[in-house]
Amino acid sequence: MLDLTKIRADFPILHQQVHGKPLVYLDNAATTQKPRAVIDALVRYYERDNSNVHRGLHALSMRATDAYEGARARVAKFINAADPAEVIFTRGTTESINVVAHSYAARLKPGDVILTTEIEHHSNMVPWQQAAKASGATIRYVPFLGANVEDGLDLAQLDALLTPEVKVFAFTHISNTTGTINPATAFCAKARARGIVTVIDAAQSIGHETIDVQAIGCDFLAFSGHKMCAPTGIGALYGRRALLDTLAPDETGGGMVVTVDYTGARWKPAPERFEAGTPNIADAIGLGAACDYLDTIGRPAIAHHDAALAQLAREKLSVLPGIRILGPRNGEPRGGLVSFAFADIHAHDIVTFADEDGVALRGGHHCNQPLMRKLGLTSTTRASFYLYNTEQEVDALVASMRRTLKFFGVT
């Protein structure tokens, strides 16, 4: 059980009113709020240690380097990577996936297949479409089951789709649109048995549940700090060491080269090879502080809390007239979010009315246009929960929905 009073006190932003109502922040799948400890880590860095890293021998530079590399080790521990060098700092999930996709674009050939799924975020779909285009490879999608994705991906199809031509299998851990949880460990086992490289989009799982890359058995894992209490502008790509050192870097420049002359350059090994230029030092340190914060609270408890609130919301929303709820059924495992649509009221009107009640929701296609189209929807409303949300906030959500339905004459 989480101590919500204590946790809420850690987040300065929560204690404000919006349109005269207490803020009920239920847009956590888009980005999470930041605890005091993370904000303080940034301030401390800029007030005491700020300096460029790696190439410096003076006191500040050594402190900054230690803090930056310490953050890398901290993130490695957070996901149980075997080696800190397997953690590459990026701007976030999207950049992490682009780094892998660009590298594979350079080595895939016509005839090769990139496998992904129909429920991916644009950030784990468009980069692979581009990689396919650049290399001549083909892209295939694992379809989903059930009109509202109730049954997740079609696992029978998955087996049939994992043919010898498949070189990369990229899939989301938890869908940001449906809350569907993919069995990542099982997927990776299937792929590994066939020598297929796995890339997991962990944007929606990293902040909630314990992620152990060695137990999952993935080759790459991408995530964003801003979805796990860390600052914006920082995230990571985990890659297995043996693979990382074979990949060509995406960006080049200072800091990632061993030697340069006027004709060419030689790359350092990972992680430097993938971190051209001055890195986002302060926010990497902030990400380390976020790992500390989440592990102090305890990720199993957070995962349980977030999923329980989503369950509760799903249950309470499901009785509203004309509602269509995506993803797992009442009582079935789901990520900490619930996404729904009303027949006659558009998500944007819902979100605008909810905002008037202080309730922050997201409405739209959630960067998942193809899925929306397949579901016959243009948009949904999404409520997503995090460690500081309460059952009362679920009630505020439902009450706001009722008020809006009433205004639009839906009963």
């Binding site: 009221i345 558009h346 944007h348 009107d349 605008t352 009315f353 246009q369 948009s379 205004f407």
Partner: protein, 158 residues
């Protein structure tokens, strides 16, 4: 409900949203354009039959719209069709200019009282794109060749 919200969701808007005018494909159309609002996935297609006078495009003889979106975008497209029918392209442009003024400033000149229902949008800058989606599609349709071409109304400065 706050005054801003009541002002945004005026009766005339709710009415057009519930009972949209000129909705559906126009079989006789000789111009069409399609608009997307990528921020929210809203879509709007506008179909026109443009009259020709002495071989030159003249007035909008018939118009319809189709698509999906929020109450603001649907009502705006519906109301737009009632306002531009019978007008020439320059007249539609002029009217859009006034409409844009209304949704961005909240001030409606007296002579175009029908569109004044959208004055409340100005307090919700993120919704301006919703209110102008149908208009953008109509203007694109007026500019389009008699051949059907898809287009986007995503612009970054309104």
């Amino acid at each position: 409900m706050s005054a801003d919200l009541t002002e945004l969701y005026q009766q005339v808007i709710l009415d057009h949203n519930k009972r949209p005018r000129n909705r559906g494909k126009l079989p006789t159309a000789n111009r069409v354009a399609h608009g997307d609002n990528p921020t929210c996935g809203d879509q709007c297609s506008v179909y026109l039959r443009l009259e020709t006078v002495l071989g030159q495009p003249d007035r909008i003889a018939e118009i319809s719209f189709d698509g999906s979106g929020c109450a603001i975008s649907q009502a705006s497209a519906s109301l737009m069709t009632t306002q531009v029918k019978g007008k020439t392209a320059p007249e539609v442009q002029a009217l859009y200019k006034s409409f844009h003024e209304i949704v961005t400033t909240g001030n409606a000149p007296e002579e175009i009282s029908d569109l004044a229902a959208f004055a409340g949008v100005h307090a919700f800058p993120a919704r301006i794109k919703c209110a102008t989606l149908g208009w953008h599609a109509a203007i694109e349709a007026l500019k389009s060749d008699p051949l059907v071409t898809p287009t986007t109304t995503e612009t970054h400065h309104d």
